[in-house]
Symmetry: C2
Subunit: 334 residues, 2 copies
């Protein structure tokens, strides 16, 4: 890892012209998998499902509850609150620009948005449905969904597969382009302040961007060990290492404490930070990352510059309209 | 009570012409109190506050969580789920057309939408904030709210009063006109089917409308005893009388089991029914009401006709846009 970092940093430092030309603006559309081409009908159905709390056992938790598209695409909590007030050990990642992650969840265990969407619904502490069979039975009892699924999937039944495909199609529209950084990357050099440019260059110089690379600053689906450098003081404070990351799925030693590289897009809106949401501010998060991943202690000025740049990664949020949830006239949902 | 019912029923039965001319369509605007004239700025601020889960201690429960404007204005649950998964004893009333209630809450203890809006925020099992001082402190820590409050209330501070005024201003826009019944009331006699008209006439004949009177079918803010006729079989099944209604607020004997007359607008969308949400279907709710309030046993055909009419009270829901919640860049909300 350190070698890779050195190479990339050196590359990025080669000159300000080549640095600038290396910057990538966020694409305004996301590619869809061959088996789930995006259509308007799927997006509309997915938007409705995403906001429908009846996808939870209690009827109180929707995808949007923890991935709030009125805000930074998550809930600003250390960990989310699922059905019956239960909480888990990880902090909800943002749904905005998640289309640009190659893998999903903090441990990257889902290879697609479709695969991700199926998880929380039947997780007992998240949405608490007993099974997808139960979800499908409930959806089939709601007339409006019979119509909406038929439009989105004319030749398929309501199923876990079609429901998660629709949700993923909607999520692929959740893209926040035109951040100050994007304008800068496209050539408008005054779109970033001098301080923000200093922050960007500092991040390139010290190695942040060797992992947080690409247009989404998410390493294009790569994994990294976190913390890479064990620090007993930070461990005592934040218990980062209690969570073994990808190892908890694969049980392979080499996956211990490996996590998906999270996007830095809109990071200013997604406090608190890290997989366990233990760090309350972006300033502190930058300091922690420098210590645990790069073995560096940053000056306050360096931290301020980097934070200024990270704020310039806040994009434009496409206006969302509230779906009208299909009704069950004269009765309730279960 | 029985005398009033008899008079009104007799009046409504006087002739089909006079019945039809007695019907009132739902107004498309709601009057605002003199001290809170509706403005666009207040509506926008109120819409944002209404959808902001940071008005709860956990950041997980907004007004919209239990009064879902993507649906029938409530949550289709027997009782709502507040912070930490707690539930109370009463079923959330719909926020749609609540502007036409003279009093709010099942027990009518709030005399205005403004007064109502202040309650759930600091209720320990609903939104769980310790005090409105804490709410105001939190709102003041969010830059976007400083701006939005200044626009809505140029000469006033952020306070419980201004926050609840804004929420009430938004709620006054939540009106669902143009139900089939409204079209009928305005003179389009084909807007209701023969069965729906039979249901309406049956309701007038047997006395339903002596309480559920007026354009919103809510008795214009009046209270009634429920159940009016004690029925031990129904009590055993639904425990209606465990809740003493207005008495729990006033401690006056004459208020025992008195409740605000709820609107019948969009009633098909707000199952389960009654103050404790104990009755799952509209069919059953109609039968229960006939028994406990009118001392009548309805035939299945009569019930079907009435339910058909009640479905014709489902109005058109104005399209809601999702607010963008103002952010706290680099940190979380508490």
């Amino acid at each position: 890892m350190p070698q890779i970092r050195t190479i990339v940093s050196a590359m990025l430092l080669a000159g300000s012209t080549s640095i600038a030309s290396a910057w990538e603006a966020l694409p305004t559309t996301a590619p869809a998998p061959a088996n789930n081409p995006t259509t308007t009908e799927k997006i509309e159905l997915g938007r409705t499902l995403f906001h429908d709390p009846r996808l939870s056992s209690t009827g109180t938790v929707s995808c949007a509850s923890c991935h709030n598209v009125m805000a930074g695409g998550e809930d600003n909590r250390p960990n989310s609150m699922g059905v019956h007030g239960q909480t888990g050990g990880r902090s909800a990642p943002t749904v905005w620009n998640s289309a640009f992650n190659k893998v999903q969840f903090w441990d990257g265990r889902a290879a697609s948005l479709e695969a991700q969407a199926s998880g929380p619904v039947t997780n007992p502490i998240e949405m608490g449905m007993k099974s997808w069979d139960d979800v499908v039975t409930r959806l089939k009892s709601i007339d409006g969904y019979l119509v909406a699924f038929k439009k989105a999937f004319p030749n398929e039944d309501i199923s876990e597969e079609t429901a998660t495909k629709a949700i993923a199609a909607y999520e692929r529209t959740l893209i926040t382009p035109n951040s100050p950084y994007d304008k800068y990357a496209k050539g408008n050099k005054s779109a970033l302040s001098a301080q923000e440019v200093r922050g960007l260059k500092k991040m390139a110089e010290i190695g942040c961007l060797s992992c947080h690379s690409g247009a989404a600053f998410n390493g294009k689906g790569d994994f990294r060990e976190f913390p890479a450098i064990y620090n007993s003081f930070l461990e005592k404070q934040y218990q980062f290492s209690n969570d073994e990351g990808l190892f908890e799925v694969t049980k392979k030693q080499e996956d211990k404490h490996f996590f998906k590289i999270p996007t830095l897009r809109n990071i200013a809106l997604t406090a608190p930070y890290f997989h366990n949401g233990s760090v309350k501010t972006l300033e502190k998060a930058v300091k922690v990352m420098a210590t645990t991943q790069l073995g560096r202690k940053l000056s306050n000025k360096e931290v301020d510059d980097i934070v200024a740049f990270l704020n310039a990664l806040t994009g434009e949020f496409p206006k969302q309209s509230l779906p009208t949830l299909p009704a069950t006239p004269g009765k309730t949902f279960n």
